[in-house]
């Protein structure tokens, strides 16, 4: 098979069609700054520097099929933190520390009625002052506008280099949004104490946020050549729910969200961290060959392949612990196993399991990239 253009390669993988090799799209937004000697606090405060640092990391490490994101995820999380308290480098943390989310009950029980009546964006306006510095609304809202403008600007700068930006931010499943700002513990308690109220709030969030976020993505998509063809949808907490609650408070919203995103001509990418093993069969309910499932190495991706083979493109999952503690030989062996087993028959994108860790060994990251680009046992198959 002839060598494919990176965009054709990615599209073919998602559509479960033949590829010359598995596309390679690692998530480098916290590794590249450390690798390039750029402080985490600078990544938070300077959006141009954040993008340029990712570009430099891409070039210095030899490049891959697409940049996962246009700018730093850390930047977006830092300022668009879902009404969740966070600890940020240069603010509550040292200049080069890793940002962290700080699980607190920002949303109170009485806020459910406010959300149901006024929607999620209005609620976030209430939440940010409660979250406290550095999320002071005086700083936050102008920065939100700046982040939105950077979506187009950063994508065009990557495209001028001939590199496409893989994903833009899609909507959050509403259950996940509530857990961020209300805390997981309180949200789980609400599942038992006030399920109808929780469900009504989730309905309100979904009705507002899906068109809102899809509209934002379409604006970038239309203003760029290859940008925002894939919507990043993150979830971590839903698989903690038992089946009836999983269905009622998470899955029905996800299915509807996936349909609406597909209708807008965008590919949903389910960036699902934590352990989904018991719910893997559910993904057979999603449209075939149109949705991506990205796993972080805590879900068994080899089991996922057995179940979802021929139905859904899988993405992942070089483990964070291996990139930090392993040897280049161990990383190479794992990447080969992924390509051999999960890549078998197509429908696979090689990536890090969630973020490439800030303290990964550079020689391990290089082994992952090199093996991903050169080891392709399947090109003769097709």
């Amino acid at each position: 098979m002839d060598e494919m253009d990176p965009r054709d390669r990615i599209n073919a993988a998602i559509a479960l069609q033949p590829v010359d090799r598995a596309p390679l799209i690692p998530m480098m937004d916290i590794f590249s700054p450390r690798f390039e000697g750029v402080k985490m606090s600078a990544m938070i405060n300077d959006l141009d520097l954040a993008r340029d640092t990712l570009i430099k990391g891409f070039d210095d490490l030899g490049g891959w099929d697409a940049t996962f994101l246009a700018g730093g995820l850390v930047t977006n999380i830092g300022w668009g933190n879902f009404g969740m308290a966070s600890k940020l480098p240069g603010y509550q943390l040292g200049d080069d520390d890793l940002w962290q989310l700080d699980e607190k009950e920002i949303m109170k029980v009485e806020d459910y009625d406010f959300v149901i009546q006024n929607g999620w964006n209005a609620y976030l306006g209430l939440a940010y002052p409660r979250v406290g510095a550095p999320c002071d609304p005086a700083l936050f809202f102008p920065r939100l506008g700046e982040i939105a403008a950077h979506g187009v600007k950063d994508t065009l700068i990557w495209e001028a280099k001939g590199v496409s930006v893989f994903a833009g931010f899609g909507p959050n499943p509403p259950f996940e949004s509530v857990t961020f700002t209300r805390s997981l513990k309180e949200t789980i308690a609400d599942v038992y104490r006030r399920p109808d109220k929780l469900e009504a709030a989730l309905d309100a969030i979904q009705a507002e946020q899906v068109p809102f976020m899809v509209g934002g993505m379409l604006a970038v998509k239309q203003a760029t050549k290859w940008g925002n063809k894939v919507a990043f949808i993150g979830a971590t907490r839903a698989p903690f729910l038992s089946p009836p609650n999983f269905e009622r408070f998470f899955w029905k919203y996800l299915k509807s969200m996936v349909d609406q995103i597909l209708a807008a001509g965008i590919t949903p990418m389910l960036h699902f961290d934590s352990v989904w093993d018991r719910y893997l069969e559910k993904f057979l309910e999603l449209p075939k060959g149109q949705v991506l499932l990205e796993l972080d190495s805590t879900t068994n991706i080899f089991k996922a392949k057995e179940i979802l083979k021929g139905h859904m493109c899988l993405m992942g999952d070089v483990p964070a612990s291996l990139l930090k503690l392993g040897t280049p030989e161990q990383v190479t062996a794992y990447v080969k196993k992924l390509i051999d087993v999960v890549g078998e028959g197509g429908g696979f994108i090689l990536s890090t399991g969630c973020d490439c860790p800030i303290d990964a060994k550079p020689e391990n990251v290089k082994a992952m990239l090199e093996t991903g680009k050169t080891y392709n046992p399947h090109h003769k198959v097709f």
Binding site: K87, L98, E103, Y192, S274
Partner: protein
């Protein structure tokens, strides 16, 4: 099981569990016996989790309920609260502030009859050493979600060893693997809260 309080807890019936604790206290039942009923209920929750009937959300809710019933019982216990199986010092290590996994383990250990000294999050190694010395705990639990926590865990284990403390150390958290346990030098890796309880039982 025929104990209505244990059944209420195991079925996650919060109102019924609180009501039964209050009724039994009012009727003059020994608070230790009421606590034992609550623990029986929690044990059943753990068994249902291991059998795949319950998920993490049920462990979280049961932990919340057990905390409430304990709060109702607390004023009725003499200082010290009676005998426990032993002491466990636990915390999320320095540089990491994630506490969901740690809190789950704390809840299940308490329900399992252990006295748990929870040091919270972002805990420096010195604090673990000091608390083990002060309490005489035999077991230490270290939690972390980020890769940066691996180094803090390693330093904490080394500090406990350097202080000559005869403790067993278990580690847990999302990205932890056997490779991490080995790097850190811990005695065991706890894949979930039930494993943590089993380890603590073995080590006491």
């Amino acid at each position: 099981m025929s104990d209505a309080l244990a059944i209420a807890i195991s079925d996650l019936d919060e109102d019924q569990a609180n009501k039964l604790v209050q009724e039994r206290l009012a009727a003059g039942t020994n608070p230790q016996d009421i606590l034992a009923s609550c623990r029986d209920g929690m044990e059943l929750v753990g068994k249902r989790y291991e059998a795949g009937e319950y998920f993490v959300s049920e462990l979280i809710m049961a932990g919340e309920m057990f905390k409430q019933t304990n709060a109702l019982l607390a004023p009725h216990f003499a200082a010290g609260g009676g005998a426990t199986k032993g002491k466990v010092v636990i915390g999320t290590v320095k540089g990491d502030i994630h506490d969901i996994g740690k809190d789950l383990v704390v809840g299940m250990l308490k329900a399992g009859g252990f006295e748990v000294i929870d040091l919270g999050v972002d805990v420096p190694k010195e604090k673990f050493v000091d608390m083990v010395k002060e309490s005489g705990a035999k077991v230490v639990g270290l939690s972390g979600l980020l890769t940066i926590s691996f180094d803090s865990m390693k330093e904490t284990v080394a500090a406990l060893k350097a202080a000559g403390l005869p403790v067993k150390v278990m580690v847990g958290g999302g990205p932890l693997t056997e490779q991490v346990r080995e790097y850190v030098g811990a005695d065991a890796l706890g894949a979930d809260a039930q494993v943590a309880v089993r380890l603590a039982n073995q080590w006491m």
